[in-house]
Amino acid sequence: MQAQPRVLTILDYASALLLTLATGMVFFYAPTEAVMGLVQKVFYFHTATAWVGMLSFTVSLGAGIAYLRTGNRRWDLVVLASVEIGMVFMLIAIIMGSIWARPIWNTWWTWDPRLTTVTIMELIYAAYLMLRQGIEDPDRRARFGAVYVILGFVSVPLTFFSIRIFRTIHPVVIGGSDPQATGSFDMTARMLQTFLTSLVVFSLIYVDMLWHRIRLGELADKVEQLKLRLS
């Protein structure tokens, strides 16, 4: 087994340190919003995790295309790693959003266009992981998986633009807001700094996790190849 690269170890420490910094900024630096109170601070990590979720699915699309073009199995590992991480972060964003919605919308959940499209997107990518489980041949699995993530990616822009296309109660913090939206607010300079820091920190955490997950995939691939050789 290969030893962990030094750069990855540095990235681990940097991610942990910067996550602590971002959490500190959310708790102590960003001001409390005048109407919603402390729950508004959920927004910083809610948006950052949703961003990482969509970034992951976009990377999986790129890796899926690269696999179909080159046939290199390493791209399949990137697809799998990125989808798995995207699902974890999107789940966090959904749960955090639900917790925010309870005091602001007076409900844990509503079938608003954004909440509906994000649920469909999460289910589409969950189905990708199930599809992989059902195919034994590694090359066939990679090919089907790549085609699936390319088709499934349609749900990502649909989710992103849903609050800009449809009438919705979900706030649009950047790029204007629907008058129907409940829970909108104007960002102060400190809020914006905390928001941007969170985005950068979670992007870095994504890179770190992706690298670890790809390494895990390589190990799993090695075990699978050896099993096939011995059987």
């Binding site: 087994m1 959490t23 959310v26 409390t32 919003e33 005048a34 109407v35 919603m36 109170g37 402390l38 729950v39 508004q40 601070k41 959920v42 990590f45 809610h46 995790t49 974890v88 789940l91 966090i92 749960i95 955090m96 917790i99 925010w100 309870r102 005091p103 996790m209 670890h212 997950r213 895990l216 190990l219 799993a220 090695k222 075990v223 050896l226 099993k227 050789r229 011995l230």
Partner: protein
């Protein structure tokens, strides 16, 4: 929500941040456990692979017991 001053939403704020750290921790632990399990599998498979490739003591072909078998024209009958 009250008209004067921000709403008291401390509990929801705390719950939101507990969720993120707990889910991230669960995922990181799952990565570590899967890595450990795969490393053990790989070690076991490598041992099996080495044993398969190793010649048996005394050569690949087992020796035949010929002491009770009559030998005719230099060939053994088993």
């Amino acid at each position: 929500m009250p008209a004067n001053g921000p709403a008291d939403t401390l509990n929801y704020f705390v719950a939101g941040y507990i969720v993120i750290f707990v889910i991230m921790a669960i995922y990181l632990v799952s990565l570590a456990l899967r890595r450990r399990s795969l490393t053990q599998d790989l070690e076991t498979l490598e041992v099996i692979d080495q044993e398969k490739g190793k010649p048996e003591p005394g050569g690949f072909k087992p020796r035949l017991e010929t002491k009770d078998v009559p030998v005719q024209n230099g060939e053994s009958r088993v």
